[in-house]
Symmetry: C2
């Protein structure tokens, strides 16, 4: 392909509203262009990356035995009402009324549609197990699209759904997808961490996310550097070490302090000139519609999944101010654990504090020097908060670290959540009608593109992994108007194309500086420069985007030499994928 | 792939509401499934066909020098207002209001988005010519989706757009797409007719449609069996032969007849007991907002494009009853050409009539025996009607035939319609800022699938063309529980897969009759039956879906024998594509 035909609108300036490296460089390299908030056009270079990712995904899904289909974006809202997610999705679900007066949802995901399909078409255990997938456009009414193509209103997703007859089959289907995901991300050449994820209140006992570490990422990963424990923040457990129960160390009674209008932890602690870590906040939730309270250290965050589990509930919502006042008798902002009338759970970190600042359950009043276990009972002490940097690992006790990450994949044992709600059953080998057991598996296709740039860039531009680069090689004739230079370039182009190498030729009549800058910006792995001077000296310049310096190869045998370099790199990448697979199998065997 | 893993829900019964063969067989063969009105899921077999069509399209678009990109479905309605099509598209344009209170259109096509893109990114003649394309989902609020996947609310389209500096460049871009389309349909193995199509009032002097003849088709094609003239009905010209001007052949004056409440041609002619072909209807239009009238034979249909051109107008709409009465002084249903006050054009067929029944421009009155040229002037006699079966060819005068067809492709010289409306200009080689010259080129991807079935089926099911069949070969072990049978089947499967043949194996434990019926229904070109009896006799049965009878090949060398048959067929298909290309080039050279 010639640069002049490909529409590659590179730009020098950093776009005004772009901060994330993937956003900045994908725009500057002319790979994507914003049409509206959260809606991006993939220009030819960007589209090629997307398409290479799709090809890898497809190959690995087929290898894992999944069958591809394609479901519509236009979905009857009735299916969402059947599954019970019409309310849950809320505003995120784009809806429109069409001419027939029907209300149609634009699919944000396809659990409902596939369950509807399978409940009609799969009737017997003989048809199981089966895994179906599609690569399809999803729509979500993101209130705040951001970071370029990372969070948009329209995006490509690979979504797969497994249907199994029993939990053993589900485990096998889940493992096959888990392994396929590893291979996909390995082959795409992006770094990733697999973390345990929250699996939600209904169905399913296992869920993993595939995260690419990045400061742009909106997900938070808690990781142990000593063992292989990693989880997203919602899921991460906290080791016991930091939370040994304390005994009262003081006989001094607590003291009432007037805190006029100070309601937040920050306001109260600033006013009292104490660190937030010496205070505790009492939060009220409705667990299965019943009011409950939790006490969390001032500088910690409550983890709703842990709170929900602590009370054995299947739903949990934060109580509003009116409810709080009604059930505690005290105004929001001044709540405390002493003499509270509703069920109370205490986070382990609070139980370990010698004394604590809490609300007095009365307007403009807080209490100092309250001793846990002395001034309020420690009947229900559990892990209720999000893990934070420095917390001990739940497996080995080492100090954990916290990182941001981009979620590129998610595998999830759904169990019977949808099949029960929507009546998707089959006849088992004994003739009993039972609900299908499901798993779902998603990959954010566009996010792989963004994550690859987040993980692979320098000050000058993108550094694409070879397997998903828009082109593998860029041929730069410095003086394309010189017939000898052009001929040498075209001869290499032909040789590469015949060898199955994706090659782009910068045929523009531009200054060398412009061409070199653009080459770095668009990040093609292999740059080959053909110049009048080089040809005179009998050499062609080769530079890998990952190398600091270029090297020369003899012009006469340049094609073979460069193809050999490429082949060596390809082999190295393939070997790495195999090594990782073997390592995973070994780890699993342990 | 194994049948048991692929989800192929064949069914014996013809679905209640399906009439078109493609609708019936795609449902019965388990290739598609309706989710809602005009929204279909492509099940694994159907998806494979779709994907093979996409692959062929992509290869030919790349070969023609077009660059692929991907534009969003979510489009700002502002762009539609800029182009002036917000009103034109009307109800077909699906719209929704998102959380940011913006109104978003779901793209029914992408002229607006691509013009917006290119006006920002292409600034100089040096960047031209360029052709961009995508394969993307379109949304249209079809009031009456029908014929299965032929007319739906959500469909895949390959849409390409060319941008050129002058009309010569446009011609070259147009020809490249025209030729690519021929190759695509040739390679897909579907029969097609290329017809001249109406190119609309603004911009562009050329437009062709690619039609697959089918009684299910909603388009009407007028074709000359003697020369190569073919056009869609809106565009088709009519030869002069049928319309020699007549001289008054009667001295009898016309006669007033009372026709109480008879307004339509049918009512009047039935009442007067005369054929509709002896009457004429006067129709009133607003041409560029000015009232005009045309006189058309009672059994003919006015052609709005021809009427518009007859009055040199760029817009044309039918006048409503109130306007008609206001501008003619006569009520709708009783209009006639005598003493009409607004500009009048007369269709050639009317001018050729010896006498005619027309309205009297007064309530409940018509006139009999009116002589064209005597009783009303024949100042403006032109071709104003749709061609019909039996009309003479405009090129050679032979009698034309009328066929129904499915439009699978459309190439269109747009000219400057969008670039002018949306301000998409470039600097030409003299530094002048002029509007880009555009072409647009569409292929209905799903329609190719449907058209292939319309053109390729028998009573038993689908007969896929080899290049787009979901699988090329179907291996049917009749007794898969017999290890020798299964082993022979698996050995062939392996050999085929290694040779790059798409192969499906019917591994179900079903009666031979069920397997044979399903094989015919899903229409895989090559069926290979392995049975206990055959193996005992040392033979394997081979049957082409297009052949009436099966034949036997020696089991020992079955793989090689069958691969040789396949290769011969493939070569034959490729040769046909080449022959057609040579024939087109020769025809063009004439």
């Amino acid at each position: 392909m010639r640069w002049s035909k490909a529409l590659i609108p590179t730009q020098k300036e950093t776009p005004a509203d772009a901060v994330a490296p993937s956003h900045v460089f994908l725009l500057r390299a002319g790979m994507v262009r914003q049409l509206g908030a959260g809606a991006y056009t993939y220009l030819p270079l960007g589209f090629r990356v997307l398409n290479k990712v799709i090809k890898i995904i497809r190959e690995e899904m087929e290898a894992a035995g999944a069958s591809e289909l394609l479901m519509p974006a236009l979905q009857p809202v009735e299916l969402w009402k059947q599954s019970g997610r019409y309310e849950t999705f809320g505003e995120l679900l784009m809806q429109l009324t069409i001419s027939s007066n029907q209300t149609i949802a634009l699919g944000p995901t396809h659990e409902e549609v596939i369950t509807d399909l399978v409940r009609d078409l799969v009737k017997s255990y003989r048809q199981l197990p089966i895994t179906l997938y599609q690569i399809q456009t999803k729509f979500r009414d993101e209130p705040r699209p951001r970071f370029g193509i990372l969070r948009t209103r329209e995006f490509l997703m690979k979504d797969a759904y497994s249907f199994d007859a029993d939990v053993e089959q589900l485990s096998a289907s889940y493992d096959a997808m888990y392994e396929a995901y590893c291979r996909i991300f390995d082959r795409c050449g992006i770094p990733y961490v697999i973390v345990e994820a929250e699996s939600g209140p209904i169905g399913g006992d296992s869920s993993h996310e595939f995260m690419v570490p990045s400061s742009t990422g909106e997900d938070v990963v808690v990781q142990c550097p000593s063992c292989d424990y990693a989880a997203n923040r919602e899921r991460a457990e906290i080791g016991e070490a930091a939370a040994t129960l304390s005994l009262p160390d003081s006989t001094t009674p607590f003291e009432e302090v007037v805190t006029p209008g100070r309601r937040t932890i920050q306001e109260v602690c600033t006013f009292l000139k104490v660190p937030e870590s010496t205070s505790a906040k009492l939060l009220v939730f409705l667990a299965d519609d019943k009011p409950v309270a939790v006490l969390i250290r001032g500088d910690h965050e409550a983890n709703e999944a842990k709170v929900r589990r602590a009370f054995g509930a299947s739903t949990l919502v934060a109580a509003d101010a009116a409810t709080v006042e009604k059930v505690t008798g005290a105004p929001m902002g001044f709540l405390g654990p002493i003499a509270i009338k509703i069920p109370l759970a205490i986070d382990r970190s609070v139980a370990a504090m010698p004394h604590v600042v809490v609300g007095a359950n009365a307007v403009d009043l807080h209490l100092k020097g309250v001793v846990p276990g002395r001034d309020f009972p420690l009947d229900r002490v559990v892990d209720l908060r999000n893990a934070a940097e420095g917390d001990p690992c739940p497996r080995c006790g080492a100090t954990m670290i916290v990182k941001q990450g981009i979620e590129v994949g998610h595998v999830f044992k759904l169990g019977t959540k949808y099949s029960k709600a929507m009546g998707a059953t089959f006849l088992d080998d004994k003739g009993a009608e039972i609900p299908l057991i499901m798993g779902c598996y998603g990959i954010g296709v566009n996010r792989i593109v963004a994550a690859a740039v987040e993980a692979g860039h320098d000050d000058n531009g993108i550094v694409w992994p070879l397997p998903i680069a828009p082109y593998e090689a860029l041929i730069v004739p410095l003086q394309p108007q010189n017939p000898a230079v052009l001929e040498a370039a075209e001869s290499l182009e032909k040789q590469f194309t015949e060898a199955g190498i994706d090659v782009l030729m910068d045929d523009r009549e531009q200054r060398p500086g412009v061409k070199f800058k653009d080459a770095d910006l668009i990040g093609i792995p292999l740059r080959i420069v053909i110049s009048e001077r080089g040809l005179k000296e009998g050499t062609i310049e080769v530079k890998w985007r990952t190398d600091a310096a270029a090297h020369q190869v003899p012009a006469a045998t340049a094609g073979e030499a460069i193809l050999a370099e490429l082949e060596a790199i390809r082999k190295g990448l393939a070997a790495t994928c195999v090594e990782r697979r073997i390592a995973r199998a070994a780890a699993k065997g342990q």
